[in-house]
C-alpha cells in the first residue's frame, strides 16, 4: 500500500477520534456518516453546510433579540435557541447542543448577562467546529486524491 496514503489515513483516523474524544461530535454524527454511501458522497458535507448556515442565521437572530435597548424578548431568544438545539442535535454537534441546553435555561430565567455570554460561547463553538470539520473534509480529499479510500472510523 502506498505509504503516503497509509499515513494520511492514520492521520484521518486519529483526527476523527480526537473530535469525538474532545466532545465535538457524538453518535448522531456517526449516524449521519452511515447514511452516506458511494451514491451520495457529499451527504454529510451538505448537511453540515446547512447546519452552519443555520448557525449564522440563528445566532444573528439571537444577537438582534438581545440587542434591545429596553426589554428583551427572551421567548424570542429561546425560540431561536430551541431551533439551534434541534439542528445541532440532528448533526451530532455535541458541544453546540450542550451550550444550547444551558442557553435555554438562561432564557427561561431571563438572565440577560448569562444569555449574552452564552451566545458568545455558541458563536465561538460553532465556528470552531466548522474549522475542525473543514480540516476533516480536507483530509478526506487528500486521501482520495492520493488514490486511497477514506477509512470508516470505528468510534467504539
Amino acid at each position: 500500500m502506498d505509504a503516503h496514503v497509509a499515513q494520511l489515513q492514520m492521520q484521518y483516523r486519529n483526527y476523527i477520534l480526537s473530535l469525538y474524544q474532545q466532545g465535538f461530535l457524538d453518535d448522531q454524527f456517526t449516524e449521519l456518516k452511515s447514511l452516506q454511501d458511494d451514491g451520495t458522497p457529499d451527504f454529510v458535507a451538505e448537511v453540515l453546510s446547512l447546519f452552519f448556515d443555520d448557525c449564522v442565521k440563528l445566532v444573528g437572530n439571537m444577537a438582534r433579540a438581545l440587542d434591545q435597548t429596553g426589554t428583551v424578548d427572551f421567548s424570542q431568544v429561546g425560540a431561536n435557541v430551541h431551533q439551534l438545539k434541534g439542528s445541532s442535535s440532528s448533526v451530532g454537534a455535541k458541544r453546540v447542543k450542550g451550550l444550547c441546553i444551558n442557553f435555554k435555561e438562561l432564557c427561561e430565567a431571563k438572565n440577560y448577562e448569562g444569555c449574552v455570554r452564552c451566545l458568545q460561547q455558541v458563536d465561538i463553538e460553532y465556528k470552531t467546529l466548522k474549522a475542525k470539520l473543514q480540516d476533516m473534509f480536507n483530509l478526506e480529499k487528500q486521501i482520495v486524491q492520493a488514490g486511497g479510500i477514506v477509512p470508516q472510523v470505528d468510534i467504539n
Binding site: 449516524e31 446547512l50 434541534g86 439542528s87 448533526v91
Partner: protein, 253 residues
C-alpha cells in the same frame, strides 16, 4: 446549496413525481411507499428525507403544517374532490413548529375523510410523556424522539408495509378519459411491469390504475427565493402558483 424553500405546492394537474429532486426522481409508483415529511428545520428535513430514501420510500418534504395541508388538499377539500387524490402512505411530522404544531396537524388529518386513515408519526426533541400521550390519544401511530435514526425509520417502514390498507379515498384515481400517461424525461429507471388494478381496490367499477402515473409537467422553473413564510400562510389564501421546489438532497440521484 439547498435553499430553505417551502415546498413544491404542486397543483394536482402538474404533479409529476413527488420524489425529491424533481427531474431526477423516478416516477411515483403506486406500489412504492410515499411519505410526507413535515418539519420546519431544513437540516432535519434533509436528514429525514435521506433516512426515508434509504428505506425505499418516496418522500415529499414540506416546512409547515399549512403546506402539508395544502399538499394534501385538505384545506380545500371540496375543490379537490374532483381531482386526483394523492397517494400518501405515511405522514411524519415534527411536533414543535411555528404556526401549526404537529399535534394540530395531526388533528386536522384525522378530521379529514380522505386522509384520516393515513398513519401519522410525530417527532419531537422533547421526551414529554403528556405530549406523547396526547398525540397517541389523538390517533398518532407512533412517536419518535429526535434525533431520528435509521433504526427508527426502519421500524416504521416495517409496520407500514404490513398494514398498508390504502383506502379508496386515499387512492390515486384518474378521470376515465385522461390520456394514457407517459413517462417523464427521466426514464433511466426501468419501471415495473404494469398491473391493472391495485390489490386494494375494492371497487370493481373504478377505472384501472396505471402503476406509473406521471402527469405532463412543465419544465422545472427556477426556484423562487422565498422565506419560510410559515406564519403568514393561511388556508384561506389562494393556492400559490407552482413553485417547483428543488429539495436538493445532496448527492442523491
Amino acid at each position: 446549496m439547498a435553499s430553505d424553500g417551502g415546498v413544491s405546492c404542486l397543483r394536482r394537474s402538474e404533479m409529476m413525481s413527488v420524489g425529491i429532486g424533481g427531474i431526477d426522481s423516478p416516477p411515483l409508483d403506486v406500489d412504492e411507499v410515499h411519505v410526507l415529511a413535515v418539519d420546519d428545520s431544513l437540516v432535519d428535513r434533509i436528514v429525514i428525507e435521506r433516512l426515508l430514501r434509504i428505506t425505499s420510500c418516496k418522500v415529499t418534504a414540506v416546512d409547515s403544517g399549512w403546506r402539508a395541508l395544502e399538499f394534501l388538499g385538505i384545506d380545500n377539500e371540496k375543490a379537490s374532490a374532483e381531482l386526483d387524490r394523492l397517494k400518501v402512505d405515511l405522514i411524519i411530522t415534527d411536533y414543535c413548529m411555528p404556526g401549526m404544531t404537529g399535534y394540530e396537524l395531526l388533528k386536522k388529518i384525522k378530521e379529514s375523510s380522505s386522509f384520516r386513515q393515513v398513519p401519522v408519526v410525530i417527532m419531537s426533541s422533547e421526551n414529554v410523556i403528556t405530549r406523547i400521550d396526547r398525540c397517541l390519544e389523538e390517533g398518532a401511530e407512533d412517536f419518535l424522539l429526535k434525533p431520528v435514526k435509521l433504526a427508527d425509520v426502519k421500524r416504521l417502514r416495517n409496520y407500514l408495509t404490513r398494514d398498508v390498507q390504502v383506502s379508496n379515498g386515499n387512492k390515486r384515481k384518474l378521470p376515465e378519459d385522461s390520456p394514457p400517461l407517459t413517462l417523464s424525461h427521466d426514464s433511466s429507471d426501468s419501471s415495473p411491469p404494469p398491473s391493472t388494478l391495485s390489490p386494494d381496490s375494492s371497487d370493481s367499477s373504478s377505472p384501472p390504475l396505471s402503476p406509473v402515473e406521471i402527469f405532463s409537467s412543465p419544465l422545472l422553473s427556477p426556484l423562487d427565493d422565498e422565506d419560510d413564510d410559515v406564519l403568514t400562510s393561511s388556508p384561506e389564501s389562494t393556492p400559490s402558483p407552482v413553485r417547483r421546489q428543488k429539495m436538493r438532497s445532496p448527492g442523491l440521484d
